[in-house]
């Protein structure tokens, strides 16, 4: 398995609180992605990074911010969690246009 770790794996948080999810890689891959997965919506891209401090928005970026200060870490922050952000979040890494390696996912519940 590619060296990619998401933390935490499960989290329950209250509405209005900030939450940060971490993606850590040991593969030195240039590209990193955050997706959310919800029933009926498949995988939707939140933000992605194409290098240290180089990030861009995906299709569902509202309410989320990201940071990448080191090659190995890509952080996703929910600035003020809402119930609509209850989801499974996946991080992915890649060195190509096509083959990405996914983490095991983080199940986030906002109550």
């Amino acid at each position: 398995d590619a060296g990619i770790t998401q933390s935490p794996r499960h989290k329950v948080t209250e509405t209005g609180t900030p939450v940060t999810l971490r993606c850590h890689q040991t593969e030195n891959h240039r590209y990193m992605y955050w997706y959310r997965q919800d029933p009926g919506h498949g995988l939707r891209l939140i933000h992605y990074s194409y290098g240290v401090k180089d990030t861009d928005k995906g299709e569902v970026s509202d309410g989320y911010s990201v940071s990448r200060s080191k090659t190995e870490d890509f952080l996703l922050t929910l600035e003020s969690a809402t119930s609509s952000q209850t989801s499974v979040y996946f991080c992915a890494i890649s060195e190509s246009y096509t083959e990405a390696f996914f983490g095991q996912g983080t199940r986030l519940t906002v109550v």
């Binding site: 992605y33 096509t98 083959e99 390696f101 996912g105």
Partner: protein
């Protein structure tokens, strides 16, 4: 806008049969089309990709077909096995510059009946 979608949300086949999973896309500028497999409780895994200047590519028991005229992508699985039961996603990406948005469709659930 850009979108990658699917014709059917579910597909049920008998073990040993061939499976065909379809996908429609709308962005003619996509350079790569990709298929991923997601087993229950796991992250998606890369299966096979095809570049936009190709119309067919074969892998081990899988074939991807690309029809740019009708913007259609398909994944054929030969001799489907119970271990092929999963959700299959098509995805697309662009080449060049700093735009590396790997975008996924909604997925098709493949169930293989023994």
């Amino acid at each position: 806008g850009e979108s990658v979608g699917l014709h059917l949300p579910t597909l049920s086949v008998q073990e040993g049969d061939n499976s065909i999973i379809n996908c429609a896309y709308s962005n003619s500028a996509s350079d790569y089309f990709i298929w991923y497999k997601q087993e229950s409780g796991k992250g998606p895994q890369f299966i096979i990709d095809i570049r936009s200047n190709m119309d067919k590519r074969q892998g081990q028991r899988v074939t991807v077909l690309l029809n740019k005229t009708v913007k259609h992508l398909s994944l054929q699985i030969a001799a489907t096995q119970p271990g092929d039961s999963a959700v299959y996603f098509c995805a697309e990406n662009h080449a060049g510059g700093s735009n590396y948005k790997l975008t996924f469709g909604k997925g098709t659930l493949l169930t293989v009946n023994p």
